[in-house]
């Protein structure tokens, strides 16, 4: 009898320490070899171009999420109602959701999290909550969000705003910091994985959260480890040995390696990221004909070829697949048209331009050199400067020190064309160094961008306004849409269930869907 009792106790204890589900198959630890280490684990500090998203989205969830098709879908909120004037959003919360500290999700958690994110504004997702006037709990499981003015970007960006435990915020607050110090190195969310340990400079380890509301049926990984600081060649050696399962932000040369290895395969994704060439409206580039000539001279096809099949042409300054995108541009090099336009301008005898491109990036260098060669055929000399970001932005803040031309990747966190067009050429960015490196100042363009987000989600006028804005940029020839460079990552042959999610940017891995074979 005692023997059976011991077995019963042992089984009970085993069940107690194992994430709950009768039908779960645990398949070990999923290890990500990440390019970059988070500076903070606080969702309020999350950026849109850094890999902290991979870790944060495993531990935290938003009220809504993007489906694989790019539609807004329920997450911690199960339903919502948007008022006709698009000023009031009422969300109903999911019942029975637990935080990693054992507390249960209710409206207070949402109110505190949103207010905290808005107040701290550490990361660069702050603009999403900028139009929020108030957040209030109408009952335990219902939240009402009031906007100062209708703003479509709020709704499009809400999936990126994560919900924290209000209890944990209150318990760890110090000197009114809204638990900023605590959440920098700790995590208390509702996500499928909970923080075990973050060893700065080494790795972040997370384990499956037993009480995750999504459940644990089927195959899953019980541990998720994000490793940092790995050298490129070391990452590949480790993956060949099965010690890494995913390598993010791989390079072009890694594709060749993957093609010759049975253990490694590569995946391509289309992120919300475009590569653009800016022309500052000064000197010869103040002449629209010159800018149009340069647009014709751009070696679009050669650039795609150099990218060895991991880039797609852009047919608009906006990215295809985003709300409001329309095709307004044919990316094809036409040197005869370029010569004809130059001949009509005051600069037919040639001139010299300075161009900056970001330090240590193959595609940027390829693009700069290819364009330099093409312009040399037209008698235009281009002096190239390879500089780091901090130096670039310092120079670009001032019209006099800014480069004549510059090339950039631009990311957007929401599948909304207006956000990309804003980053490209809105006049409010002039002299800030953070965008509009063409010094484009067109009130008509600005007005279109400002009106579109005030319309209710789904209003067809959003597409019309944004399409008009895209056409203006092409007609005025201030920015050259070069390509959509695809995101490359490498996976080990044992990985199952992984799919790159462009709408989960910045970096939602959906680790809950992943499992390892063997």
């Amino acid at each position: 009898m005692k023997k059976y009792l011991r077995i019963v106790i042992a089984v009970t204890l085993l069940l107690a320490v194992t994430p709950a589900s009768a039908d779960v198959t645990w398949t070990g630890a999923f290890v990500l070899g990440s390019c970059c280490e988070p500076n903070s684990l606080d969702p309020a500090a999350m950026g849109i171009s850094q890999t902290e998203g991979y870790v944060i989205t495993a531990m935290y969830e938003g009220l809504t999420q993007y489906s694989r098709e790019g539609e807004i879908a329920p997450r911690l909120a199960t339903g919502w109602d948007i008022s006709d004037d698009a000023l009031t959003y009422t969300l109903t919360l999911r019942e029975g959701v637990s935080f990693h500290d054992g507390s249960t999700l209710d409206a207070e958690d949402v109110v505190v999290s949103l207010e905290r994110h808005k107040s701290l504004g550490l990361g660069n997702l702050g603009f999403i909550l900028a139009p929020v006037a108030s957040v209030s709990a109408t009952d335990d499981m219902t939240v009402e969000i009031q906007l100062t003015s209708a703003d479509f970007q709020f709704w499009a960006g809400l999936p990126h705003i994560k919900i924290l435990s209000a209890d944990a915020i209150a318990a760890n607050e110090s000197d009114g910091d809204m638990a900023g110090d605590f959440f920098r190195e700790n995590a208390v969310g509702t996500g499928p994985y909970q923080l075990v340990r973050w060893d700065p400079g080494r790795q972040t380890e997370m384990s499956a959260f037993p009480d995750y509301w999504g459940g644990w049926e089927g195959s899953h990984v019980e541990t998720f480890i994000a490793r940092y600081g790995l050298d490129f060649s070391t990452r590949l050696l480790l993956m060949e040995d099965g010690e890494l399962h995913l390598i993010d932000w791989a390079g072009l040369s890694d594709i060749r390696r993957a093609e010759t290895s049975d253990a490694i395969s590569y995946n391509l994704g289309n992120p919300l990221q475009g590569f653009y060439h800016f022309m500052k409206q000064d000197g010869p580039l103040a002449d629209k004909k010159v800018r149009q000539a340069l647009m014709h001279a751009y070696p679009y096809e050669a650039m795609i070829e150099v990218m060895q099949g991991v880039a797609l042409p852009l047919n608009s300054p906006a990215l295809s697949g985003t709300i409001g995108h329309c095709a307004v541009f044919e990316p094809a090099q036409d040197m005869d048209a370029a010569r004809a336009l130059l001949a009509e301008s005051d600069y037919a005898d040639g001139f010299s331009l300075r161009q900056a491109y970001r330090h240590a990036n193959e595609p940027r260098r390829f693009a700069a050199v290819l364009f330099q060669e093409a312009l040399a055929e037209l008698g235009i000399e281009v002096v190239l400067d390879d500089i780091p970001w901090g130096t670039f932005i310092d120079a670009q803040r001032n019209f006099d020190t800014a480069y004549d031309m510059s090339s950039h990747w631009l990311n957007i966190p929401i599948p909304y064309s207006g956000e990309m067009l804003f980053r490209l050429n809105h006049s409010s960015l002039i002299d800030t160094g953070t965008g509009n490196w063409a010094w484009y100042n067109n009130p008509e363009f600005d007005a279109l961008l400002e009106e579109a987000p005030t319309l209710a989600p789904g209003d067809p006028r959003i597409d019309e306004l944004l399409c008009e804005a895209q056409q203006l940029l092409i007609d005025d020839a201030v920015v050259i849409p070069v390509m959509l460079s695809q995101y490359i990552d490498l996976t080990h042959s044992s990985v199952r269930g992984y799919q790159y999610d462009p709408y989960g940017f910045p970096g939602d891995l959906h680790v809950h869907d992943i499992w390892l074979e063997n």
Partner: protein, 348 residues
């Protein structure tokens, strides 16, 4: 001079030297901090923009600039930083927002552990090979050691690191490829930050063994080149002293070869060797950047490089001050060893 008086004189000289070095150390570090602060401020770069990330909006950059005090006039920032430094406050990392001293506390022990073990290997094998080569001068063994020295000095540590990884980790599977510990192992409770020491203190034998195994390849990569330099200095120093009249006298008196070599020749050959070792160990401790990168070693060198690339000025200054401190301390230790090895220096 009687032995007791000589010892006291040596102690006084050492004390004076230490005091002098301590005072100059403070001045040197202060001077360095001032120069570095000025240099980092006049660089054409915007650290607030870097801290905010490449896709930040202007209002976020301005907010960070204000939070970090980067919007204040240069003299205000300078006074705040220097007065903080006087209290031992190295400031806050612009990127991680942690105290720089906390970051250094995490990173420096990794480099220290790697360097200490490398130094032991350099001293034991470098000096040992140098002595063996000297007493076998002109023979096959000497030729072999000299060949090893030439190869060791010619191959850069990071190239050697890649070879070691391919041969001993990938090929023979004898040692781990990278890192301080296996991914699934948690570090020992923090006491010194040296995993070997902390795991011993915690009685975690498996962890101790694993951390030693992880040290093997980076130590080899780091030590081999410097070990070759050590062997070369020791060999030439030994050859010179072995040809001195007092060595011939010792041999003529019928002393066995071992005491002649070790007691008479080696001690006198040590001064240039100690000078060289002091410099080498200074370099080791200041962070073998590329070796740390190849082996994913989260040490001071890698931290310094990451900080420079991201314009994390306070982190750069903090790392540079620690490196300067290491050089001054290692040079002081060398000077003290001189006094110990050759008491005539104290009289001078």
């Amino acid at each position: 001079m009687p032995a007791g008086a000589a010892f006291r004189s040596l102690q006084i000289t050492m004390g004076k030297l230490l005091l002098e070095r301590l005072l100059t150390l403070i001045l040197k570090l202060f001077g360095m901090a001032v120069i570095l602060f000025v240099v980092t401020q006049v660089l054409p770069a915007d650290p607030a923009a870097v801290a905010a990330g490449t896709d930040a909006r202007p209002e976020q950059i301005e907010r960070i600039r204000q939070e970090l005090g980067l919007d204040r006039p240069f003299h205000e920032q300078f006074i705040t930083y220097i007065s903080g430094l006087a209290r031992g406050d190295l400031g806050q990392s612009l990127l991680t927002r942690r105290e720089v001293s906390d970051d250094l506390k995490l990173r420096f022990p990794a480099t220290l552990e790697l360097s200490i073990l490398s130094a032991v290997v350099i001293v034991v094998f470098g000096v040992g090979l140098g002595i063996i080569a000297a007493i076998n001068a002109g023979k096959a063994l000497d030729f072999l050691i000299r060949a090893f020295v030439v190869i060791g000095m010619a191959v850069p540590p990071f190239v050697l690191a890649l070879f070691l990884q391919l041969i001993f980790a990938k090929g023979l599977d004898m040692f781990p490829l990278e890192g301080r510990l296996h991914t699934r192992m948690a570090p020992p409770p923090f006491v010194t930050g040296l995993y070997t020491v902390d795991s011993l203190l915690a009685g975690q034998w498996e962890l101790f063994w694993m951390s030693l195994r992880h040290l093997a390849l980076p130590v080899m990569a780091l030590a081999l080149g410097r070990l070759a330099v050590g062997a070369r200095f020791t060999r030439s120093g030994m050859l010179e002293t072995l040809s001195q009249p007092y060595v011939r006298t010792a041999r003529a008196k019928g002393l066995r070869e071992k005491p002649v070599v070790l007691r008479h020749a080696f001690r006198n050959a040590l001064i240039p060797v100690v000078t060289m070792l002091g410099i080498q160990i200074g370099f080791l401790l200041s962070g073998a950047v590329l070796v740390e990168v190849v082996f994913t070693w989260p040490g001071l060198g890698r931290y310094a490089v990451e900080s420079v690339l991201s314009f994390d000025f306070y982190a750069v200054i903090g790392a540079a001050l620690v490196i300067a401190l290491i050089f001054v301390v290692s040079n002081t230790v060398v000077d003290l060893l001189y006094l110990q090895l050759d008491p005539r220096i104290s009289h001078k």
